[in-house]
């Protein structure tokens, strides 16, 4: 039996600012994980990744990150993505300032 597919979001860093961004369902790059499109189908996720990768003038380092869908939006499965969506733990210098 194939393993069940872990839902994903498309994430990257913004080309100019370097900020962590997520791809929304309406093809916008958003700094908020809550606004990201949750991809529950593997083939669709791959397609969204290919589309996103073509947007070279907007982002850098694009990839699919594992998420657990919840009522309030996707939640990171791994702590690395938790830090990426929040910012560093030693200073309030990351997204935690604005979000």
């Amino acid at each position: 039996m194939p393993r069940p597919f872990t839902p994903k979001v498309v994430t990257a860093n913004a080309l100019m600012s370097g900020e962590v961004v997520y791809l929304s369902a309406d093809d916008q790059w958003t700094p908020r994980l809550t606004e990201a499109e949750v991809l529950t189908d593997e083939a669709h996720a791959q397609l969204r990744l290919v589309e996103a990768s073509a947007r070279q003038s907007e982002i850098v380092g694009v990839y699919l990150a594992d998420m657990a869908p919840t009522d309030t939006g996707p939640e990171p499965v791994h702590f690395r993505e938790e830090f990426r969506r929040t910012g560093p733990s030693n200073y309030a210098h990351g997204k935690q300032v604005d979000l």
């Binding site: 860093n13 370097g18 380092g61 702590f79 830090f83 030693n90 210098h93």
Partner: protein, 557 residues
């Protein structure tokens, strides 16, 4: 101190001009990221977890005050008001924007600094003893040799696409403060029959497969040194494993072929390389060396120091902990701790950088050093000026008296910033320092170095910490492996693993149990943690960490 020649200045300006165009072409879409990435790495620009990171070289850890002021300017103008000093005598800016990088590099060039070869498979920033030119135990100042190597290795056409990165460290003293046996090449300057030369050590390194460097030549004269270094790098350049990045460093090449085989190959290569060095390099070396003369030391009374030492216990504690012996009577080497309890190891704010620059200008013959232990050094301060220096440091949160103590922790950026990390290191360092400050135990514990890395790459030197901590990802949870008995000095040793790792919540109590065991078993305050560990072995520490027997403090709590 070395100042750029016209050649240096023109070279850096040209590189900056090229990189500015490369950035513009990336932004306007003519370059893809795949095309741009090698260019940005050549210029020290990384993509990290939350943002870009610019790594700026501080060659052999030496700075003038105007350079430190420029680092402050960059922190304030293009970053979030601070910079992070690393274990390789670099400074990292964690939040620059892509469009600002060319301006940052131009600003750096104004004070003869750059970010070239701080990344990529090249010869990286050459590091040196942070007490260079000042230490009482110094045979020769390592900086002229380090500067010669910097010039030789910068943009060296043969060494721009090496199997992997290559790191060189130089010391000219008896004590090793540059961890030379943990570098691809380590050099120890010493004299033979009155002539200065270097012991050449190869194949050291930490990371996934830690190795202690081996001596390939007991003594190579200064005149022969560049050709010899070129031969070593060139032998590895051909032999080094490009098929497997975990086996590509020279330590693996030396390990697989054996030091005798490598020595013979280097000797063959040397015969070919040496004739190309026709003596012009020595003219250059003498020009470089002439720029590293001693400052005009003052010979004035030291009474002010004695009076403050007697009268002020805070000053006394700082002086006892943060000063080291200088080669000139009446002078001291000052270490400024960037490890205030609970703060991020190695971070300095723009305001702190300016304060340190001002002290260097007013009281320190305009010289500053960055240590691989992530502290700042004022190499030449007359002891009569120490009370004034201490006052200024205090006013800027820079007077923490903890050099060499348990809270003087090396910590790499870890998963708070680094894209390669498997766990965080900074919060662990902050918690340990805060806890032992609360216990008011650190002066009683004495010399004890904790070093923390956030992944197997070991930028935090955990293998050579008296206590080493390695952050790993165990099934999606941060887990911290502990080693004991590492040694970063001339008696370099790798620590031994205690056993299974600890969670983030368990790691501080684990440190307490280790320290309690040491305090309970030591022969007296004069027996350091490392000495006690060497005498006692792992057993009592293992029992304290994993055994049924809870330690005294846990019982009392």
């Amino acid at each position: 101190m070395y100042t750029y020649s016209d050649f240096d200045a023109a070279f850096v300006a040209e590189r900056n001009r090229q990189f500015r165009q490369q950035v513009e072409r990336r932004i306007d879409g003519s370059l893809t990221e795949d095309e741009f990435k090698p260019f940005r790495l050549m210029n020290g620009l990384y993509l990290q977890l939350h943002a870009y990171m610019l790594r700026v070289a501080i060659p052999y850890g030496t700075l003038r005050s105007e350079q430190m002021e420029m680092l402050a300017h960059l922190a304030e103008t293009y970053d979030k008001g601070y910079g992070h000093f690393t274990t390789r005598q670099n400074i990292q800016y964690n939040w620059p924007e892509l469009g600002d990088i060319p301006n940052m590099l131009d600003d750096l060039a104004k004070v003869e600094m750059h970010a070239i070869q701080t990344s990529g498979n090249t010869i990286r920033n050459v590091t040196a003893d942070h007490f260079a030119g000042a230490a009482a135990d110094e045979v020769a100042d390592p900086r002229p040799v380090a500067e010669m190597i910097r010039q030789w290795s910068t943009d060296h056409p043969e060494f721009q696409a090496l199997p992997r990165k290559f790191k060189i460290a130089v010391t000219g003293a008896q004590a090793d403060r540059a961890v030379i046996r943990a570098h691809d090449i380590g050099l120890r300057l010493h004299e033979q029959n009155g002539e200065l030369g270097a012991e050449v050590i190869v194949g050291g390194g930490l990371g996934r497969t830690p190795m202690i460097g081996k001596t390939i030549a007991e003594w190579v004269s200064l005149e022969d040194l560049p050709a010899y270094l070129e031969s070593v790098v060139s032998v590895w350049n051909l032999l080094g494993r490009r098929d497997n990045k975990y086996k590509s460093r020279i330590k693996i090449t030396v390990h697989e072929h054996g030091i005798d085989d490598i020595r013979a190959r280097v000797a063959d290569r040397y015969e070919l390389v040496r004739p190309a060095y026709n003596g012009a390099h020595m003219d250059l070396f003498h020009q470089i060396a002439a720029q590293f003369g001693s400052p005009a030391f003052r010979n004035v009374p030291t009474d002010a120091y004695g009076a403050a030492y007697k009268a002020d216990p805070v000053f006394r504690s700082w002086a006892d902990t943060n000063l080291s012996a200088h080669k000139v009577d009446g002078y001291a080497i000052v270490q400024i701790s960037l490890k205030a309890h609970g703060e991020t190891p190695g971070d300095a704010s723009a305001e702190q950088m300016r304060a340190m620059a001002r002290i260097a200008r007013d009281y320190g013959h305009d010289e500053l050093r960055i240590s691989h232990e992530q502290n700042v050094v004022l190499p030449h301060v007359h002891t009569s000026d120490l009370p004034a220096v201490h006052d200024i440091l205090k006013a800027h949160g820079l007077a923490t008296a903890n050099i060499g103590l348990i809270s003087d922790i090396i910590a790499c950026p870890g998963m708070d910033y680094c894209a390669l990390a498997t766990a965080r290191s900074i919060p662990i360092a902050q918690e340990i320092a805060t806890r032992f400050d609360e216990l008011k135990l650190e002066h009683e514990i004495g010399e004890l170095k904790i070093k923390i890395s956030g992944c197997i790459n070991a930028c935090g030197h955990h293998h050579v910490g008296h206590i080493g901590i390695l952050g790993l990802d165990r099934a999606g949870v941060e887990n911290y492996q502990v080693t004991l008995g590492g040694d970063h000095t001339e008696t370099l040793a790798l620590g031994d693993r205690t056993g299974p790792g600890f969670s983030a919540e368990e790691i501080v109590p684990a440190m307490e149990r280790i320290v309690d065991t040491y305090l309970a078993h030591r022969d007296g305050p004069e027996e350091t943690f490392l000495q006690a560990y060497r005498r006692l072995g792992m057993d009592p520490f293992k029992t304290a960490l994993y055994g049924e027997q809870p330690s005294k403090r846990t019982k009392a709590a």
